[in-house]
Symmetry: D3
Subunit: 285 residues, 6 copies
Amino acid sequence: MSSPTSAPPRILIEPLVRAALLEDLGQAGDITTNALVPREAHAEAAFIARKPGIVAGLDLAKLSFELLDPAIEIDVKKPDGSEIRSGDTIAIVRGPAQGILTGERTALNFLCHLSGVATATAAAVAAVKGSKARIVCTRKTTPGLRALEKYAVRIGGGSNHRFGLDDAVLIKDNHIAIAGNVTEALRRARKGVGHMVKIEVEVDSLAQLKEALAFGVDAVLLDNMDPKSLAEAVAIVGGRAITEASGGVTLANAAAIAASGVDLISIGRLTHSAPALDIGLDFRE
Amino acid sequence: MSSPTSAPPRILIEPLVRAALLEDLGQAGDITTNALVPREAHAEAAFIARKPGIVAGLDLAKLSFELLDPAIEIDVKKPDGSEIRSGDTIAIVRGPAQGILTGERTALNFLCHLSGVATATAAAVAAVKGSKARIVCTRKTTPGLRALEKYAVRIGGGSNHRFGLDDAVLIKDNHIAIAGNVTEALRRARKGVGHMVKIEVEVDSLAQLKEALAFGVDAVLLDNMDPKSLAEAVAIVGGRAITEASGGVTLANAAAIAASGVDLISIGRLTHSAPALDIGLDFRE
Amino acid sequence: MSSPTSAPPRILIEPLVRAALLEDLGQAGDITTNALVPREAHAEAAFIARKPGIVAGLDLAKLSFELLDPAIEIDVKKPDGSEIRSGDTIAIVRGPAQGILTGERTALNFLCHLSGVATATAAAVAAVKGSKARIVCTRKTTPGLRALEKYAVRIGGGSNHRFGLDDAVLIKDNHIAIAGNVTEALRRARKGVGHMVKIEVEVDSLAQLKEALAFGVDAVLLDNMDPKSLAEAVAIVGGRAITEASGGVTLANAAAIAASGVDLISIGRLTHSAPALDIGLDFRE
Amino acid sequence: MSSPTSAPPRILIEPLVRAALLEDLGQAGDITTNALVPREAHAEAAFIARKPGIVAGLDLAKLSFELLDPAIEIDVKKPDGSEIRSGDTIAIVRGPAQGILTGERTALNFLCHLSGVATATAAAVAAVKGSKARIVCTRKTTPGLRALEKYAVRIGGGSNHRFGLDDAVLIKDNHIAIAGNVTEALRRARKGVGHMVKIEVEVDSLAQLKEALAFGVDAVLLDNMDPKSLAEAVAIVGGRAITEASGGVTLANAAAIAASGVDLISIGRLTHSAPALDIGLDFRE
Amino acid sequence: MSSPTSAPPRILIEPLVRAALLEDLGQAGDITTNALVPREAHAEAAFIARKPGIVAGLDLAKLSFELLDPAIEIDVKKPDGSEIRSGDTIAIVRGPAQGILTGERTALNFLCHLSGVATATAAAVAAVKGSKARIVCTRKTTPGLRALEKYAVRIGGGSNHRFGLDDAVLIKDNHIAIAGNVTEALRRARKGVGHMVKIEVEVDSLAQLKEALAFGVDAVLLDNMDPKSLAEAVAIVGGRAITEASGGVTLANAAAIAASGVDLISIGRLTHSAPALDIGLDFRE
Amino acid sequence: MSSPTSAPPRILIEPLVRAALLEDLGQAGDITTNALVPREAHAEAAFIARKPGIVAGLDLAKLSFELLDPAIEIDVKKPDGSEIRSGDTIAIVRGPAQGILTGERTALNFLCHLSGVATATAAAVAAVKGSKARIVCTRKTTPGLRALEKYAVRIGGGSNHRFGLDDAVLIKDNHIAIAGNVTEALRRARKGVGHMVKIEVEVDSLAQLKEALAFGVDAVLLDNMDPKSLAEAVAIVGGRAITEASGGVTLANAAAIAASGVDLISIGRLTHSAPALDIGLDFRE
């Protein structure tokens, strides 16, 4: 079986975890734990869900401990992607107490944030269930954490839009204004980028949509259209391009938007405003 | 006049902005803008609030453009800390169009996130207005962005708790469990850290509170107590230590908690779950 | 006019130039120049072509001097993309002699290497002139310099294939072997990647080609086929996918391959084996 | 037995391999392999020479896989320095298929480039066989890869000239022009550098050569002289300094140059223009 | 038992050791050892004290070898904090001879420097033995090595003052001059910093001291006062603040200063001028 | 006039100053200055010598301020290399008060340390005045600061020995033990390193010395010999190699050692144990 939600490899995440730990340790380190906890003390603690949701980010939690002390082990009970209920044990951490106490907050900061993104995504996916629409994220991500948040979206059942400015063309209204019109913008794009690069154009009106389709385009971003306009746009496209609804999507209106027949619904809120999932690390006697 | 909300200096924020830009540019850069926008094109665009809130992060937005093209200038209309209404112009950006289009998303990602933190903080501060309680943040921050989020909290009218594990002692329940009891934990802390380091202890009961006060402590964290217990605790403390209420604080119960007479109310949600403030960059003809 | 051959921005190239200078300076710096050349001495020198070719990399040459001494100025006579003959003056450098002498080799190492790539590309482009085939590079690049070499290929009139493993799917024979067959490989790819990602599959036979076309694919890599087989493959494709010839392409056989009607001809040699273009820095009295 | 061709230690090469992998992975990683190849799939593949030459760079190839997945093992059949024929198996790679497929290109980019440098060096060494001349490389290296290319030259049987501007004095024509004459240049050098630093001076004429010898110098670079002038210069030197021929050396004229009796022949082409050696990674069923 | 002198964690020290090794290796590495010592040679060597003192820095010495060759092992006989006499064996190093020879100087540079700091601290602590005064260090540290030197001070029996500008307020004379007077300075400090931050003020006179006490302050730095003035100041403070004597402290006058009853004596010399402790690495046959 | 004591270029020192500032600022920055000093306040302060010595490190002091605030200017009165008396004004700093107060300690830490090294070197140079002996430093430097300390030695009138393991061969007793004898060690060295690399061998006896001279060597390190033995060794060498006295050199015995006729006297203490020169930054009203 394939692995479309492959976690980012260690070579990508280790620098992020390292930076987060150093940010928390400062020059003096964990002065509380160093003063109170004997080096030889061992501890066992469990990541416990305090709210229901979807787990994401265990690799980062694990690395938060491992970089402090390789002797700390994590026994994962609910791997990334698991649907958890309040009270569920996600993983158990065992090893030297100093490292566990020092790494706790960094581990939780990654785990709660990414699980929050996965949970928000799963809610959006559930809202459009039964339609053909896929939920996708945007480049509205937290600076420095894009690859992680994109991964959490996949874990939540969503798909990824562009990872960066470099991996596909997305022509926005301002680009069109500078180029003059949709056709000229598309012409320049087709000429200026490689053959493996897809091109999407943002259209604000059905006129622009038709102009784009006449030139040929891989995808169209239908900006801030109501469900009725979206349905009309989908009909005009007639399968000639991928259709993406964008702007002002909420859990409340997602089903109506999906019913328009669009292929994709992009939601910036998944990555820039998802509340952290409440997970705690409970120590055991 | 003093400047308690001094922005983090450039030497601290430049690496963060640089990393965010590189994350978005990838190896190939902004292929859309490069293909569509002539190098000599100039543009003017305005950061416009789409929702009311408090502005924070303009230095980062500015640097997002400046690192791409030093010729881009920002004219700030509503500096960090300003209360803005929907539709307000926060700042105007002028210069080479390529750099403005390429830097737009990075600038907005910083600005919307930090303004979101400031706005959430201001709401909490407003909720306890009239009481003596100060709103403080925690170490539950986004990995890599702690200094920025702590700054945004100050911009929103809140105060900062510890920046890291290194700058004060906070003895939590797990530390106490390992040390044996509150007194022994405090004894180890006092012995193990420098004279400029304050010590706070988390107490779950009035018995623990009295034990801590008997030994002497700078601050007590009153964990998950209801307003009545908090008031009782404040009375017991009688000014001998700073009192901090923590756990489960919401905009709804903040006033009641503040009425207990505690000095501080700490809220993790300010930094880990504040939704981004909706700000757009509108280009002008 | 658009700028499809935009140079990589300074934020991308500065770390490379900085690393190259530090590699050459070591801890002790340019001990020859420091011992021999007075700090106040000024110099003027010219980059002179000793062989014909295409210029690429002047931004890097410029930065090699500027990072050593901002007082050094470059007056460019033949900007990137210029066709130069032996003896042509490419640029003139003026300023403090110490910085010019110290930066000379680093500047030349970038300039000669990238001009070599551009020159090799231009020769390949010339070889297929009159056909519809575009010359593209591969991921067979010098470690650490990919973005620069991809840029030099564009400067030479070529196009870029994938910049990395992340920006498009290229299914190779080994992927197919693991997936089982072409159809299953394509099915997994379509399911596993985002909607803005194009998919190319390498085919070794016309049977595989037909299988790929039956499923639907954006591009097909026709691996090591002779011109006759290529022409047959192009006919089978019939415009339903981009066709790319790959493997064993030389200046001698490029025209024959192009005559097969393929859209693209990819050549690893452009980036991994292009000889440096011979350029010198001549000091003037 | 001593080890003059010691490979650069891991502490030096790991950052280069890490950067090369990140350059190829981007933010999204190897989307093809992630989508198509199950995490549990294992593979075995062999590095096969497609052309004859000298192997160099296996440590880098190995690290390219190991940094992605420590479970991948390399069984080396032809260690660095081996002379290989077309078809030879250089090494066998075994382990998780995902990591092998993802690391393949980075491993090959290092291996083919460095083997190319070693092979070009070996050809030059062979060309002067029977003479006393040693083949040496220059500072005309690929930015960022100097230590690796210097190593590959040693592997190919050559010797290294300066590693950087810091480890020996090389007085060139422009330094002499600024100092006034050869004697003054040498005087400044002797005074300005430490006692463990050798001094070489570039001379364009026999007059300059005699001036240098009169002052005393460790080595003389005989710039662009024909074999007859070189022989004359060698006779004048009479063993009082190391003699180095430089400029315009090819495989065709190397033997004639060597016959002049010079100690060293330096060739920039070894590092800046050696074509990659053609090596492939063949997967086994 | 608690561990107030916990060594800085590996995540903090590894970058320092790595940088120190790279500084010593340059591009070419240890050319002497590489040329002379067979790769398979093993060696055993002992760190021997040539002067009496206190050991500090063995983790760094260990890492200096381990990063070069994980096969090298250190058997510690006198752990950090041990009082050693001339001739004592501190630790024994065993493993591949190349790595031991290459890492020797870096290991010793860390070990001798930090042991020097610990030894100087222990001498100062001994000088005030019998008094209540604790010896503390300052921010007058070697750039880049602050966390290490602060640790060595603790190992020597001293305590740490601020680690940086961020972890406590220290109001100096220049701050007071800008604020206008001590009271205004303290008022701004109290208002501008978080509740977990202690405030110390430097006073030059008893008048300033009284002003500070009247406002309330955590600690007072009594700058350059003679023992008699210090005693007077201590009497005035009467336990209301921590008292710190600073300026011109030597081993000769430390006891007299301590007799004044101050809580702390800060000495910059411990970190900026402690001579290295003489330790050698002796190879055994 | 030439510039043998060229300061390390900005590209080398900027990372060191940046790291030192970040080490001092932590995440929260200069909380004292930020709370007390208005952003618009300007200040003027003077670096004043409190002890006599030699100035070194002004470029680093300058950069410590400039990286915090480019508006801060330094007016140098006594440039690096100046001999200063107690009370002399070294430089005047003017600009925004916040940046001056925040950068003060970092600037002084560099300046006092490097001036201390220069001052110690000058004392040693003075002690051997009248002899032909040059004072040289060793690789016994502070980790991370080698290039700076080597520069300070030159500023103090000394010369530099090796900068690292890469720029010359120094065969020590342990190398000889492994190679078997002096002759074999030298043979391996000559064979294993490039032609621009000098070779020095440490000898403990006159027998070893003769063996080294018989093979031929660039320099001999006469280890821990008394002046009489040194004179004997110098006579044996008879100008055939550079002679270096090493081990146990003090200001007291330096003249006697120099009188033996050795070329060089190396002193580790210059870099690993030189006390900081006492310099203060005095603010002016």
